[in-house]
C-alpha cells in the first residue's frame, strides 16, 4: 500500500505516514543487509492497531467526509451489481422532464422483479452536471412516484437507494413545487401496498431523502448519514458560520449508529475498513445480503400489514413530555 488508493483525508494521513516509515525501514534493511524484521513486524502490528483505532472511532465530521467520498458506490453501481442481467431503466415524469438526479427501473432480485429508485450523484464535474450533484428537482420526485405507482400496480417490491445532499434549491424547483412534490411522495409512499426498503448509501439529507424514503425498513451503510439538514447549513443558521460544521455534525446525531440507537432504522450495513470506497464491490455484497433478508421477510406480509407496519414505524417517532392530567 505504498501509493494511497485515494487522496487521504486529513484524519487518515498518520496511517499513511507510519506506513511510509515502515517501508523506508524495509528498504534500508534490504540495502544494508541488517535484519530489522522483528522491529518491522512489531511496528506493522502497532500501525495496524492504530489504523483500526482510527477507523473504528471516526468522528461524525469524518464520517461526513467518508459518506461524501466521490468513489463511494453510487445508486447505479449498486443496481448494476445487484442485478447484472436485468436492468430496465425507466425514464421521465411523463410531463416534461427526465430528472437524472433520480434513476430507477426494474431489476431482478430474489428471483422476482423489483423496482429500484435511487438518487444518483456523479463522479467528476461532467457527470455531476448531468445528475445535478444528486439534488432532485420536483420532476425527479414525480418520476420516482410514477415508478412507485408502477411497482404498486404490478406488485413489485420497491428498493430505494438514498444518496443526496437534499432537494435542489433553485428558482424552477420552487416554481414547480418542490415542497409539494416531496409532500405528495411522502403521503403516497405511505399508502403503497408493496414492500419498501430504503438503503442510505451516503448522504441522506432532509426532505430530499424522505421524498423516496418512506419505507417499511431502512438500512444505512456504516458510515452513511441521515440528517434533517446538512451540518454546514445547520452551522450557518445556529452558529451563524459554516465553520462550525464539525460541531453541528456532532450535535445533530446523524450517524447510522445514532439512528439505530433511536430505533429509526432497522440495521447497519458494514463497510470495509476505511469506508465503502476501499471496496465498493464488497460493500454492495453487504447491501445484497441486507436486502435479501429484509425483502424475504417483507414479501411475506399482506398489503394491509405492510401499510400498517410502515405507518406504525413512523407513528411512534417523537420525543416529548406529556402531563397525564390533561387529555
Amino acid at each position: 500500500m505504498t501509493q494511497p488508493l485515494f487522496e487521504p483525508f486529513d484524519f487518515e494521513k498518520p496511517i499513511y505516514t507510519i506506513q511510509e516509515k515502515i517501508e523506508e525501514l524495509m528498504r534500508i534493511s534490504e540495502e544494508t543487509g541488517v535484519d530489522f524484521q522483528s522491529e518491522i513486524d512489531k511496528l506493522s502490528a502497532r500501525a495496524e492497531a492504530f489504523r483500526m483505532n482510527v477507523y473504528k472511532n471516526l468522528q461524525p465530521k469524518e464520517k461526513v467526509q467518508i459518506a461524501r467520498h466521490p468513489q463511494r458506490p453510487s445508486a447505479i453501481e449498486v443496481i448494476r451489481q445487484l442485478s447484472p442481467q436485468t436492468w430496465f431503466e425507466l425514464h421521465g415524469d411523463r410531463a416534461g422532464q427526465d430528472d437524472q438526479a433520480v434513476v430507477g427501473g426494474i431489476i431482478e432480485f430474489l428471483d422476482r422483479p423489483v423496482m429500484v429508485v435511487g438518487t444518483q450523484k456523479g463522479r467528476g464535474m461532467k457527470e455531476n452536471l448531468v445528475h445535478n450533484f444528486g439534488m432532485p428537482n420536483p420532476e425527479g420526485y414525480r418520476k420516482a412516484m410514477r415508478l412507485f405507482s408502477h411497482a404498486n400496480k404490478f406488485g413489485m417490491p420497491i428498493v430505494t437507494l438514498i444518496d443526496t445532499p437534499g432537494a435542489y434549491p433553485g428558482i424552477a424547483a420552487e416554481q414547480h413545487g418542490i415542497g409539494i412534490a416531496i409532500a405528495h411522495n411522502i403521503r403516497e409512499m405511505a399508502r403503497l401496498r408493496v414492500p419498501i426498503v430504503s438503503i442510505v448509501l451516503g448522504e441522506g439529507c432532509s426532505g430530499g431523502a424522505l421524498g423516496i424514503g418512506v419505507a417499511n425498513e431502512i438500512y444505512m451503510l456504516e458510515h452513511a448519514l441521515y440528517t434533517v439538514i446538512s451540518p454546514e447549513g445547520c452551522a450557518s443558521i445556529l452558529w451563524r458560520s459554516p465553520e462550525y460544521a464539525a460541531q453541528a455534525a456532532e450535535s445533530l446525531k446523524i450517524t447510522a449508529q445514532d439512528l439505530f440507537a433511536f430505533e429509526m432504522i432497522e440495521g447497519i450495513i458494514p463497510e470495509p475498513l476505511g469506508g465503502a470506497h476501499y471496496d465498493p464491490q464488497m460493500t454492495i455484497e453487504s447491501v445484497r445480503s441486507s436486502l435479501l433478508s429484509s425483502l424475504t421477510t417483507l414479501t411475506q406480509l399482506s398489503p394491509e400489514e405492510l401499510v400498517e407496519q410502515r405507518y406504525q414505524k413512523f407513528r411512534k417517532i417523537g420525543a416529548f413530555e406529556e402531563s397525564v392530567l390533561t387529555r
Binding site: 413545487g177 418542490i178 409532500a183 445556529l238 417517532i317
Partner: protein, 301 residues
C-alpha cells in the same frame, strides 16, 4: 376559547407584533403600548383600531403577523384545545450557542406557549372542525416532535369524529435541535394525512407568513384545498440559500402568495378579512357534498 387563553392571547399580541409593528425610533412607552405603525406604509394607528381590523392595516392592507391565539379568535366562534400539555424534550441533548433545553424554557416564558402549534376543535356557528394553528413566535414555528405529534393526534381525532381539518401553517421548517426526530415528523404527519385522504375527509391547508422547509414539504402542501393568506411568503428553500446556490438575484415577488398562485401551487389567495367566511363556506359545501354522495369507498378510483 377558554377565558384564560383569551387573556393569554391579549398578552401575547405585543410579542407577536415584534419586530415589524414597533417603530424602533420611538422610545415613548405610551406610543408603543397604544399605537402601532404599519411596517409597509408607515401609517400610524391606535393599536385598538388595527386589532379590530383583524391586524390588517386599514390604509394599505398590510397583514401584520399574528399569533396563534389571535388567529383562533379571528376564525372561530369557539375553540376547545386538545393535547395542551405536550412539551418538547431534548432527545439529542443538543447545544449550539445555547443548550436547547434552555431555549425551550426561555421561549415558553417569553411566549407563554408550550409549543409552536395549538390544536383542538373549533366551531363556526354549528359547524365543528379540527383545527391546528402554528405560532411563529415559538422558535420560528419550527416543527419538532411535539408539533408532529399534536398534528398527528389532531388528524386522528378528525378521523375518529369525522371532522374536516384545517391547519394554519407558519414555520421556518424542521426544528434542527431535534435532528432526525424532527425530520421524521414530516413522514408521521404525511402518513396520517394519507389515512385522512383515504377516508375522504376534507383538509384545508392555510399557509401564512412565513411557511418554509419541512412544513411546506409535508402537511403544509397536502391540503385538498390550499389557501395562501395575502402577503404570506411560502417556499421550500429559503431565499438566501437559493441565492447562494444559483448565484443570481431573485425576483422581488419570489415566494409570495401571489407568486405561488401564478405558478399553480395554491388554490387561492385570501385576505384575512375573508378567511373565516371562506373556510366556513368551504367546509359546509364539502360536508353537504359528502352527505349527499354516499360512502367514500364507492368512489374509490
Amino acid at each position: 376559547m377558554p377565558l384564560g387563553h383569551w387573556f393569554a392571547s391579549k398578552r401575547n399580541n405585543k410579542a407577536s407584533l415584534n419586530p415589524e409593528s414597533v417603530n424602533q425610533k420611538l422610545t415613548d412607552g405610551d406610543f408603543e403600548r397604544l399605537w402601532i405603525q404599519c411596517y409597509n406604509c408607515s401609517e400610524r394607528f391606535p393599536k385598538k383600531d388595527i386589532q379590530e381590523n383583524r391586524m390588517v392595516c386599514s390604509a394599505c392592507g398590510y397583514h401584520f403577523r399574528i399569533n396563534s391565539w389571535e388567529r383562533i379568535h379571528q376564525i372561530t366562534d369557539s375553540f376547545e384545545e386538545l393535547n395542551a400539555s405536550l412539551r418538547p424534550k431534548d432527545p439529542l441533548n443538543f447545544t449550539d450557542t445555547a443548550p436547547y433545553a434552555e431555549r425551550i424554557e426561555k421561549t415558553e416564558a417569553k411566549t407563554n406557549l408550550k409549543e409552536a402549534v395549538i390544536t383542538g376543535i373549533g366551531k363556526i356557528s354549528d359547524t365543528k372542525f379540527a383545527l391546528a394553528v402554528m405560532d411563529f413566535s415559538y422558535m420560528g414555528g419550527s416543527m419538532g416532535s411535539v408539533v408532529g405529534e399534536k398534528i398527528t393526534r389532531l388528524i386522528e381525532t378528525a378521523l375518529e369524529e369525522n371532522l374536516s381539518l384545517i391547519i394554519f401553517s407558519s414555520s421556518g421548517g424542521a426544528r434542527m435541535q431535534e435532528g432526525t426526530y424532527s425530520l421524521m415528523q414530516m413522514v408521521k404527519t404525511g402518513a396520517a394525512l394519507a389515512k385522512l385522504h383515504e377516508a375522504g375527509l376534507l383538509y384545508i391547508s392555510v399557509l401564512t407568513e412565513p411557511t418554509f422547509g419541512g412544513v411546506t414539504a409535508s402537511y403544509g402542501t397536502l391540503g385538498d384545498i390550499i389557501i395562501a393568506e395575502e402577503g404570506a411568503r411560502i417556499g421550500f428553500a429559503g431565499r438566501r440559500v437559493i441565492e447562494q446556490t444559483i448565484r443570481q438575484k431573485l425576483p422581488a415577488d419570489f415566494q409570495t402568495a401571489n407568486y405561488l398562485l401564478k405558478y399553480g401551487q395554491v388554490d387561492m389567495v385570501v385576505q384575512r378579512q375573508q378567511l373565516k367566511e371562506s373556510l366556513y363556506r368551504l367546509i359546509q359545501l364539502h360536508q353537504k357534498s359528502l352527505t349527499l354522495a354516499g360512502p367514500v369507498s364507492s368512489r374509490q378510483l
